[in-house]
């Protein structure tokens, strides 16, 4: 699960989504942050939607497992998409 994805630099992360756009989680880049995100339901294979951005662009909210999760862009960057 902890496969680092440096070889997939061109891969999209949740950070790259546009508002209203969906993606499917492939893996989590940062092992430590990843644990917290996993517990919050960001499991590989789950669909996420970028829901909104804070007025200054950061943090953002995503919809995962039918609930709204807010996180900073730095954290969103660690959630890689398929």
């Amino acid at each position: 699960m902890q496969k680092r994805v440096e070889e997939h630099k061109d891969r999209k992360s949740v950070r790259d989504l546009k508002i209203g756009e969906y993606g499917v989680i492939c893996c989590l880049k940062d092992p430590e942050m990843g644990l917290k995100l996993l517990e919050m339901g960001c499991i590989p294979g789950t669909q996420v939607k970028l829901n909104s951005r804070a007025p200054l662009g950061d943090p953002i909210t995503i919809i995962v497992n039918d609930y709204t999760l807010s996180l900073r862009l730095d954290e969103a960057e660690t959630i890689m998409l398929k």
Partner: protein
């Protein structure tokens, strides 16, 4: 359940027999309705204490579950898993991982939000694998149903192997059923939700053997968390560390695998249990509300409007009960002084009762502020504010959640520091607590207004901009800048204990639960009165003694001197008494101290009289005005114009006015920065559970005050 034939027992209250269930722990995700359930079960029978060595409070309460049976309910901080990520969540460790501990629960009640069962069950399955008897309180079933989520409760009960109680904790539905179940002897679930992988087995088996544990999953937690388990000796922790290293046990990877395995299990389980007939509405109500409340422009405007309302409320609404409390204590003192006399009466009236009044007078402000904070939190709006402010505050080493305490600090630092509890990250919370007292609180207003009136002319610009008002505003601005830049400074000094992150569930907007708001108000006010109160009363008594007694017969000497002076100037009886008070103050221990510290404060432009005021107002800034009026022999009236005219008449050696702009501004700046507030120090001590923080604050703020006042005085004179 097995029924054993037994002789008929005449019902007697069980006296000596230990009840089947004595300690119940309440566990659940944040926003799962855990607090509501806790309040429903315990009402006002709550107690806030703390586990030794942990900076976070432990809330306990008692619940009468039947006519003869009371249980202790322990409320644990909301958490998403049994692997704590923050200091707050770490309380769980102390409770659940040491079966030998006296706090170890007989039963856990897991609250789960029915509309988000998947994520809520993660924590449940972890607890169930610890094999503690459990009940699942399936909360907000009605809300879920409205959203089209149908839960087959018997199937869920079968799948989890524990009783499942559908409930609505907000309305109290299901609480009675929960109480009945709690009174029964429950068994742990036979279902195993996660099996330890083969490669980890050697580690868990060794731990089980060494510590005599029966449970595999508990042993796994020892392997993960040996560093945080306080009940292990250093030798035991070292032994686990060595074990973990020889078996190349990777904690992070193992946790990730476990979480995924559990989610997979839960997904399978819920396949037959939960049916979602959700009509994909375009946008949920909460989402539409968010488009306005977190809008680029309106979001901030609405936030400002709410703040304005809160401050209006704190200043205006609170002033009525505060005046009543003030008058109440004054008349109580009056009654006592009219009927009794002697030093003991003085100690009681001027020391203890005055001190108590100083404590209780803050209660209305605390109650109102916490009412607002509770409402903003209950509705889910606070999460949006932190979301909007996070990016700005992060630049200064603060956090989105620091906004609330900083702004509350303009009213009073005491409730503001208490409200910093919502910040989970240790470093962010400490910085916030540290800088909050720099915000100009309401106690600085009397000092500011008297001194501004003394040296700033009442001039108007453009017909409405009052120069005095502008100066006052500038003082508030300086305070805010000082707070922000102190935070920036502290950011570089302080080492983070945890990584700062902002992964937070966005709660759905809800109506506030008034019972929760009420309980919050009572709890916070009680905590303030009892915890901070002790220190305030003690200091008031000490200050009273210092100002009321002098070395040797100095008081009689002072009185004689005053009588002689009064004869020369042919003063009235009242003026004579004031002159005696003034001379006696000079002769008192406080006066002696004032004289002693005079050389130290001379560079700021202050004499010994201001020195006494600085010392007495250490307990609370507003004491400054009262002390100055005593020193300048104008009695106890806090009449601004009288004080002003007296201060204006004060001349220096050369006969020039003593209160020059340089001196006055130096004093204002001093009071702006200095930590002249025992209540704040006491509450910081309480909130950080260490003397280090209030002392550091005292040194930093006093140092800053001294330097800034010195610069102000030297530049202006």
């Amino acid at each position: 359940m097995t029924v054993v034939a037994q002789p008929e027992i005449i019902e007697t209250p069980p006296v000596a027999a230990k009840p089947a269930v004595a300690k119940v722990a309440l566990v659940g995700n944040p926003n799962s309705g855990k607090t509501s359930l806790f309040n429903q079960l315990t009402g006002l029978n709550q107690k806030v204490g703390n586990f030794p060595g942990v900076t976070v409070d432990k809330k306990t309460g008692t619940c009468q579950i039947s006519a003869h049976q009371k249980v202790q309910i322990i409320d644990l901080p909301g958490t998403y898993s049994l692997y704590p990520k923050s200091l707050d969540e770490r309380v769980i460790i102390d409770l659940l991982y040491d079966p030998a501990s006296q706090h170890y629960p007989d039963l856990v009640i897991v609250t789960a939000d029915a509309s988000n069962l998947k994520r809520n069950l993660l924590l449940f399955t972890q607890l169930a694998d610890l094999k503690i008897p459990a009940i699942l309180a399936l909360n907000m079933v009605d809300v879920a149903e409205k959203e089209g989520v149908k839960i087959d409760i018997p199937a869920l009960h079968k799948g989890l192997g524990v009783p499942v109680i559908p409930m609505n904790a907000r309305k109290g539905i299901g609480v009675a059923a929960l109480k009945i179940l709690m009174s029964q002897q429950l068994e742990a679930t036979p279902v195993q939700f996660y099996s330890i992988p083969q490669e980890v087995k050697p580690v868990t088996e060794s731990i089980k053997a060494r510590f005599g544990l029966a449970n595999d999953y508990l042993a796994l937690h020892y392997a993960h968390q040996y560093k945080s388990l306080k009940f292990l000796t250093a030798e035991e922790a070292g032994w686990i560390e060595a074990l973990v290293q020889t078996h190349e046990f990777k904690s992070n990877a193992a946790q990730a695998d476990e979480t995924i395995a559990r989610y997979t299990y839960i997904n399978e389980l819920l396949l037959d249990v939960v049916r979602v007939e959700r009509v994909e509405k375009d946008e949920k109500f909460s989402n539409r509300l968010d488009q306005v409340l977190t809008h680029k422009v309106f979001g901030y405007l609405i936030f400002l409007a709410i703040l304005f309302l809160v401050f209006q409320a704190i200043f205006t609404w609170a002033s009525y009960p505060m005046d009543l409390i003030d008058q109440g204590f004054a008349s109580l003192n009056g009654v006592i002084q009219d009927n009794f006399s002697g030093p003991l009466v003085n100690l009681i009236t001027e020391g203890i009762i005055a001190g108590l009044g100083g404590v209780l007078v803050f209660v209305p402000q605390i109650a109102i502020l916490f009412a607002f904070i509770a409402i903003l939190e209950e509705t889910g709006y606070m999460a949006r504010v932190t979301f909007m402010m996070d990016k700005i505050m992060r630049k200064f080493g603060l956090n989105g959640k620091s906004v609330v305490p900083l702004i509350s600090g303009v009213a009073c630092a005491v409730p503001a520091v208490m409200s910093a509890r919502t910040i989970e990250n240790w470093k962010d919370r400490m910085i916030t607590i540290f800088v909050t007292p720099l915000m100009s609180c309401s106690a600085r207003i009397p000092v500011y207004t008297v001194l501004i009136a003394l040296v700033v002319p009442e001039k108007y610009y453009f017909g409405f901009l009052n120069l005095q008002g502008l100066v006052l505003m500038a003082l508030y601005l300086i305070g805010f800048l000082a707070a922000i830049f102190s935070a920036l400074l502290l950011k570089t000094i302080l080492k983070a204990r945890e990584r700062s992150y902002f992964i937070m569930e966005f709660p759905v907007y809800k109506m506030p639960r008034w019972k929760n708001v009420g309980i919050t108000i009572v709890e916070k006010s009680k905590a303030f009165v009892f915890e901070a109160g002790k220190v305030i009363v003690a200091i008031s008594v000490i200050l009273w003694v210092l100002a009321s007694y002098g070395p040797g017969n100095s008081f009689e000497v002072a009185e004689q001197k005053a009588i002689v002076e009064a004869k020369q100037q042919s003063l009235s009886q009242v003026e004579l008494q004031n002159l005696i008070n003034s001379h006696q103050l000079e002769a008192s221990y406080a006066g002696v101290i004032g004289r002693t510290i005079e050389p130290a404060i001379a560079p700021l432009g202050y004499n010994w009289k201001i020195g006494i005021a600085l010392l007495t107002s250490f307990a609370a800034r507003e004491v400054f005005v009262g002390t100055m009026s005593t020193i300048y022999s104008i009695g106890e009236e806090e009449n601004v114009s009288t004080i002003k005219s007296k201060l204006m008449m004060e001349k220096d050696k050369d006969g020039n006015p003593y209160f020059t702009p340089a001196r006055s501004f130096s004093l204002m700046i001093f009071y702006l920065f200095a930590m002249q507030c025992i209540s704040t120090l006491a509450i910081v001590r309480r909130e950080t559970k260490s003397w280090m923080w209030p002392l550091a604050q005292l040194l930093y703020m006093s140092g800053l005050a001294y330097i800034m006042a010195f610069i102000t005085f030297q530049i202006l004179s």
